[in-house]
C-alpha cells in the first residue's frame, strides 16, 4: 500500500492550498444546515410533554456540548500524531483546535446553566457532568496558556501536545459521567444502546441536522485557522511567496 497520500498531509504547501480549496465546501453546507436546524427546532418541533417550549434549548446546548468534546478529541489525537511522527502540520491542527474548542466549552457551560435554572432550579451544581465539563475548559485554557509561554514554536508544540494527550482522559469522563455516577444531568439522549430517548422524528431530525451543521462549521473554521497556523510556522519557505501572491 502506498503511503504517499499520508505524506502529502505532512507537506505545509499542500495543506495550505487544500485548506483554502475545501473551506467553502464545508462553510456553505454548514450555514444551510444550521438555518434548517433552527427552523426545525424553533418552529417545526412540537413542545415537549414535560419541559414545554423550554426543551428547544437542546438544539443549541447539545451541539455546543458535543463540539466541546469532539474538538478536544481531535486536538488530542492531532497532538499525539505530532508527537509520534514529528509532523508539524499535526501540531498546527492541534493548535488551531484549542481556541475553537474552548469557546464552545464556554457556550456549552453557559447554555447548560441557562437550561438548568428552569429545569433543575439551579444555574450550577457540582455535579459530575458539569464538573468534568468545567475541567475540560481548564484543559483547553491550560493548553493555550502553555503554548503562549514559549517563544519557540517547536518547543511550544511538544510541551502543549503532552498536556493535550494526557487531558484526553477527561473525554470519556465527560461522556460517561451521567452513566457512572448519580447525576442531576439527564442520561445521553442519542448515543446510547437501543433507541434514543427522543422518539418523535420532528424533534430528533432538527437535532441531528444541527449536530451535522455544527460539525461542518467546525471543520470550516479549523481549515481557516490551519492556514494561518501553517503560514506562521513557515520561515523562509519559497512557497509562502507564491501563497501570498494569490
Amino acid at each position: 500500500m502506498s503511503w504517499t497520500w499520508f505524506h502529502r498531509f505532512g507537506s505545509p504547501p499542500h495543506v495550505y492550498r487544500l485548506a483554502r480549496t475545501l473551506t467553502p465546501w464545508f462553510a456553505w453546507p454548514a450555514a444551510l444546515l444550521m438555518l434548517a436546524g433552527l427552523y426545525g427546532g424553533l418552529v417545526l418541533a412540537p413542545p415537549d410533554y414535560q419541559q414545554g417550549e423550554g426543551f428547544r434549548m437542546i438544539y443549541v446546548h447539545v451541539p455546543t456540548a458535543y463540539l466541546s468534546i469532539m474538538i478536544y478529541t481531535t486536538m488530542g489525537v492531532a497532538a499525539a500524531v505530532g508527537l509520534i511522527w514529528r509532523m508539524k502540520v499535526a501540531h498546527a491542527v492541534a493548535a488551531s483546535c484549542a481556541p475553537i474548542g474552548a469557546s464552545f466549552t464556554v457556550a456549552a457551560l453557559a447554555t447548560g446553566s441557562l437550561f438548568g435554572r428552569p429545569m433543575w432550579g439551579t444555574y450550577w451544581e457540582w455535579d459530575p457532568r458539569l464538573t468534568s465539563e468545567l475541567l475540560l475548559l481548564f484543559l483547553y485554557l491550560g493548553y493555550m496558556g502553555l503554548r503562549s509561554a514559549f517563544d519557540d514554536v517547536q518547543r511550544a508544540d511538544r510541551a502543549s501536545a503532552l498536556l493535550a494527550v494526557v487531558g484526553l482522559v477527561d473525554v470519556p469522563i465527560v461522556h460517561y459521567s451521567v452513566t457512572w455516577w448519580n447525576s442531576l444531568h439527564q442520561a445521553p439522549s442519542l448515543l446510547r444502546f437501543g433507541r434514543p430517548t427522543i422518539y418523535t422524528a420532528s424533534m430528533l431530525v432538527p437535532l441531528l441536522i444541527m449536530i451535522l451543521g455544527f460539525t461542518l462549521y467546525f471543520v470550516a473554521i479549523l481549515l481557516m485557522r490551519l492556514r494561518g497556523e501553517v503560514l506562521r510556522r513557515e520561515r523562509a519557505a519559497s512557497w509562502v511567496r507564491e501563497a501570498l501572491a494569490s
Binding site: 423550554g54 446546548h61 457556550a107 473554521i221 481557516m224 494561518g228 503560514l231
Partner: protein
C-alpha cells in the same frame, strides 16, 4: 402579531431560551472573526519576513 409574540414568549421560557441561542451564535460568529484575524495577521507577518529577507539579499 400575536402569533409572533406567542413565538417569542416561548411558553414563559424566553428569558432562558433566547440568551441560550444568543450566546451560541455569538460564539459561532466570533470564531469566524477570530479565524479571519489570525489569517490576516499571519499573512502580514509572512510578508514582513519575506521583505526583510529580500533586503538582506540586496545588501550582501
Amino acid at each position: 402579531m400575536t402569533a409572533l409574540m406567542h413565538f417569542l414568549a416561548m411558553g414563559g421560557y424566553a428569558r432562558f431560551l433566547w440568551p441560550c441561542y444568543g450566546i451560541t451564535f455569538a460564539v459561532v460568529f466570533l470564531n469566524i472573526y477570530w479565524a479571519r484575524r489570525l489569517n490576516a495577521r499571519a499573512r502580514t507577518e509572512a510578508k514582513r519576513r519575506l521583505a526583510t529577507r529580500q533586503e538582506e539579499v540586496v545588501y550582501e
